[in-house]
């Protein structure tokens, strides 16, 4: 076993066991909405898979593979630019994998295959350029687009960098090999050990004439025509069957010429060996890392797209949901379309954004959220308006809405409800005691942190004459069978508490939390009291006091959101 085989076997083993681990997670993990035992999930999923494979639906599966996995038409539908970028990377890299990385297996399928013969030499360069161009496009897009930059994390940059460095190291390796005296000598030794010195010199002169630059001494010297001719003949006899002119390596050859001045130094440092190790190790690292990072999507996304096309949505859905969660490519399309994005901009809670909330959901299912993180996740979950937009735009067709709905139900059972859900669980008096304990420092007299402060200012309520107009016109009071029982207090009673400076008593009143901000009260107040604004402000104050004290990181995130 040489180094190559050992590392290949090792990384393949890591990759496969990683994939198995993923599947095991789908089997065992309880995502929100999970209700079936692992055994039931497995049996159901196997049965479903077999049923589909041996039914006319197999046609749909093949079609899905062709349309979604190979052509990625689902991306083209969403955004031609994004499809162009992604498809270039995908096509280039897959071609490199099949034609180049796996040539030990696939060589037999390619007529007259030698890596250094055309068209393969040319194609390798072409595919490499495709990948790099696609990566550059992706990077620019993630950086230039404000919405995407918001959700792009280190994992996204890392994935781009890893793929890029595999290709770049490949180009560097090829260029260094072209300009390496050592490599030339090793080739001569292996394939034409009996050449005369004169023939060798001619061969070297011939290659130099072809633009390969390993012989720094030969450069600039005009080789005689006879020598050229002899070199060409030797080349044809010994090298030509495996080595085409390097001109078709349209990236590596200019690169080799560019590094020519340093060629002998690089050669002396065995750069070609170092780069070979680097290239191979980067590639194998990518393979081993595949199940553990965002590149898993090359497996899960096509699978999810197929499952969502053909599978029925009844029966135990845990495996499908697990697959869905893992099919996220973190592309950020959902967050860019999110209808409560402004809430994120105002609050800085990343869990408002679907792409980020999904990460928390995954971590929560694994029991890895701290109390504070859980509170932030719950807050983000309940700010969601279930508008379905994220699910609509998701190119991986993850059933996000379903996840959010289940997650909310589950959060409620864990006492992680939103303020609206929590407020009905205690009486206004009990809340009043709770809120009084949580008066923020320095805010007990007049809270000056908010730009507009109505509730702490007596002037806001001086004109109130308790005429009940606000209550009379209030549609929320009108809709209540019994206002006192259902709302605790009516709007004019809340204004009366404000007049008396009893703000904390009002914070938990259900009227405050049931206000639909139609502003009828404020529009109709004969005295110009800003009733609706006051109710809204009370809600904000209460929500602030219900939230855990913000941590340093939260504040940083909030700044970053602006």
């Amino acid at each position: 076993m040489n180094f190559f085989n050992v590392t290949l076997t090792l990384s393949l083993a890591l990759c496969l066991s990683g994939l198995l681990f993923r599947v095991a997670v789908w089997v065992r993990r309880s995502l929100p909405g999970s209700a079936h035992s692992p055994a039931k999930r497995v049996v159901y999923s196997l049965k479903e898979t077999l049923r589909i494979l041996f039914s006319p639906k197999i046609g749909a599966v093949l079609l899905a593979f062709f349309r979604d996995s190979l052509l990625q038409l689902h991306l083209l539908q969403k955004s031609p630019l994004r499809w162009g970028i992604h498809f270039t990377i995908f096509a280039g890299f897959m071609a490199l994998v099949l034609m180049h990385a796996m040539d030990g297996v696939t060589a037999g399928l390619m007529p007259g295959y030698e890596p250094t013969l055309d068209p393969y030499q040319f194609l390798r360069n072409l595919f490499g350029v495709m990948v790099l161009a696609g990566l550059a496009g992706a990077a620019v897009r993630r950086w230039r687009n404000k919405g995407m930059r918001r959700t792009t994390g280190s994992m996204d940059w890392f994935a781009l960098a890893l793929v890029g460095s595999i290709v770049v190291s490949g180009f560097a390796l090829e260029a260094v090999k072209m300009s390496s005296q050592q490599v030339f000598e090793r080739m001569v030794e292996d394939f034409s050990p009996f050449l005369e010195d004169e023939e060798l010199a001619a061969l070297q002169a011939y290659w130099s004439g072809q633009g390969v630059v390993f012989d720094a001494g030969a450069q600039g010297k005009e080789a005689s025509a006879a020598m050229q001719e002899q070199g060409e003949e030797v080349n044809e006899n010994y090298c030509g069957s495996c080595h085409a002119n390097t001109a078709s390596a349209f990236v590596s050859r200019p690169l080799a010429m560019g590094i020519a001045p340093a060629a002998s130094a690089l050669d002396a440092a065995n750069a070609h060996e170092t780069l070979w190790y680097l290239h191979v190790l980067l590639t194998f690292f990518g393979l081993a890392w595949l199940p553990f990072g965002k590149m898993l999507h090359v497996v899960t996304t096509p699978l999810n797209l197929t499952v969502r096309r053909v599978a029925v949505s009844s029966g135990p859905q845990e495996m499908a949901a697990g697959l869905g969660v893992d099919a996220c490519t973190h592309c950020g399309a959902c967050s860019a379309a999110c209808s409560v994005l402004p809430a994120f901009l105002a609050m800085g809670n990343r869990n408002v954004l679907p792409s980020e909330k999904l990460i928390s959901l995954r971590r929560d299912a694994a029991g890895r959220l701290s109390d504070r993180e859980l509170a932030a996740y719950a807050e983000g979950s309940f700010i969601c308006t279930e508008c379905h937009r994220c699910t609509e735009v998701c190119p991986s067709r993850i059933d996000l809405q379903q996840l959010w709905l289940h997650a909310r139900k589950e959060l409620i059972t864990r006492e992680q409800a939103d303020p609206h859900g929590l407020i009905v669980r205690r009486t206004a008096a009990a809340w009043s005691a709770y809120f009084q304990e949580r008066i923020p420092q320095g805010a007990n007299v007049v809270d000056t942190r908010r730009p507009v402060n109505l509730t702490d200012r007596r002037e806001s309520f001086w004109p109130c004459i308790q005429c009940t107009t606000c209550t009379s016109v209030c549609p929320v009071v009108a809709a209540a069978d019994d206002p006192v029982h259902e709302l605790d207090l009516t709007p004019q009673q809340i204004m009366n508490l404000m007049r008396m400076g009893l703000k904390d008593l009002a914070l938990g009143a259900r009227m405050v939390w049931s206000c639909v901000t139609c502003y009828k009260c404020q529009e109709n107040c004969p005295q110009g009291v800003r009733v609706a604004d006051v109710l809204y402000e009370l809600r904000n104050i209460a929500a602030e006091r219900m939230r855990p004290e913000p941590s340093r990181e939260d504040e940083d995130t909030q700044k970053g959101a602006q």
Binding site: T448, P451, V452, N453, L454, R457, E459, S460, P463, I465, C467, T468, T469, T471, S472, V473, V477, A478, A480, D481, D482, P483, V484, H485, T490, Q522, E523, N524, C525, P526, Q527, G528, V529, R530
Partner: protein, 441 residues
């Protein structure tokens, strides 16, 4: 808001209470271009009936059947009362025009040709008034005849007790009975406006009739707290009469009442149709005389009270320029006058306010004294054309007029002359403004 090309109105009406609404109505009827602004409180706090005059002198609490005889006595005893300047002929003309317009707006009023109508109050007492909303008229008829009558109250509706009305009236009206019922679909605290809203649904009316019907014992009249429909279109009223087989009437409730809201809604729909630019819930904050003789006013949002970090003075949202203006801003609640530590002030133009010499003299020792308080007779002094006077007794602005409760020399609450005062002085102010700008142009 820039109003460089804004029109110069013939008249700008300050105030959207009874006087302001009447002034805008009369001015538009005379073909004048009109803008008006004001808070809605004044008219919202009406309970429906239109008083002309029923008590004089207030100290004695003498109640008059004929408002015209009362007016003669009042003008004789209190020549400073605005009615002295209006005169009974113009008052009659103004009230007739006002009621005719109300009928056109879908709020018909009833009353006697020459004398006041007696009607029930929610406290069970009798009030005499000039014109009664048609929805309340059968109550006056029943009271007059002392006919068998059922008063229906609703459990949870504050300020209205059918039982109290029954117990107060029974000595004079033995055929009056009461029933305190649950209003269908409501529990706990009730608000008349919500009941009125719900009665738009015929199902609710049927449910209400089903609750009331078993209580009837041959009564031909049924009185409800004023809540039979939000806009006074009469649908709920007629439907209930049909189902219950009796004359139905409303009894006023405490302000702000549904009946007041009907008046406001009627004007807010009708005035814009007459070409009046209505700026509801806006206040004139400051006025000035322009070199060309026109008046210009800053208009600001009601409740645009200074906020933290925002300069103390209310910010003008826009300005209105007019050839004449009618100040119908009311008193303290309407914000036409401001009571301050040092005295009573008129905030828009800084007009002279006739008032007691010091704050000590504002109120009598007894709050419920029948004579009333001096502060309640404070206000603007006007000339025969209803133009406010300055301290020196001269006209403050040649083209500024005043109407309604902002006028000095009256105590409309105790004299029961609120609507008549508002409508008749508005009539006179409009007449004067109209003649000033050259009449039928």
């Amino acid at each position: 808001m820039s109003r460089e090309n804004a029109p110069v109105y013939d008249v700008f009406v300050i105030g959207a209470g009874m006087a302001g609404m009447a002034a805008a109505l009369f001015a538009a009827a005379r073909g004048m271009t009109v803008a008006m602004c004001g808070s809605v409180g004044g008219i919202d706090f009406s309970t429906g009936p239109l008083d002309l005059l029923s008590v004089h002198p207030v100290a004695a609490g003498t109640v008059w059947k004929s408002p015209w005889q009362a007016m003669d006595a009042l003008v004789r005893d209190c020549p400073e009362h605005p009615y002295a300047k209006v005169g009974s002929a113009r008052t009659r003309e103004a009230m007739d025009a006002f009621c005719k317009s109300l009928a056109q707006m879908g709020l018909p009023y009833e009353g006697h040709a020459e004398h006041n109508t007696a009607m029930l109050t929610p406290a069970g007492t009798i009030k005499r008034t000039w014109r009664v909303p048609r929805s309340m008229w059968q109550g006056a008829v029943a009271l007059e005849e002392k006919a068998p009558c059922l008063i229906v109250g609703f459990k949870g509706l504050k300020g209205f007790s059918a039982r109290q009305i029954e117990s107060v009236q029974n000595p004079h009206w033995p055929a009056l009975r009461s029933a305190q019922l649950f209003f269908p679909g409501f529990r706990g605290e009730l608000y008349a406006e919500h009941l009125a809203q719900s009665l738009a649904d015929p199902e609710v009316r049927r449910a209400l009739a089903a609750v009331v019907a078993p209580e009837l014992n041959g009564e031909q009249f049924i009185g409800f707290p004023s809540s039979l429909g939000l806009y006074g279109g009469g649908d709920a009223h007629a439907h209930l009469e049909e189902m219950l087989g009796a004359k139905v009437f409303e009894i006023p409730t405490l302000p702000p009442s549904v009946a007041g809201g009907r008046l406001r809604a009627a004007f807010e729909r009708y005035l814009p149709q007459q070409g009046v630019d209505v700026y509801s819930q806006k206040l004139a904050s400051q006025g000035a005389l322009l070199p060309d003789g026109n008046l210009r006013f800053d208009v600001t949002g009601l409740g645009a009270a200074p906020l933290q970090g925002i300069p103390e003075s209310p910010v003008a949202e826009f300005q209105i320029t007019a050839r004449t203006a009618i100040h119908a801003g009311g008193r303290f609640f309407g914000k036409g006058l401001q009571a301050e530590r040092t005295g009573i002030r008129e905030p828009v133009l800084g007009l002279y306010v006739q008032q007691p010499e010091s704050r000590d003299a504002w109120h009598a020792k007894q709050f419920f004294t029948p004579e009333g308080h001096a502060v309640n007779r404070s206000g603007l002094l006007v000339d025969a054309m209803f133009r406010p006077l300055s301290t020196a007794g001269e006209v403050a602005f040649a083209n500024l007029f005043a109407a309604g409760s902002i006028l000095a020399g009256q105590d409309w609450m105790r004299q029961k002359c609120g609507a008549g005062l508002a409508v008749s002085t508005a009539w006179c102010a409009v007449e004067a403004a109209h003649s000033l700008i050259g009449g039928g142009k």
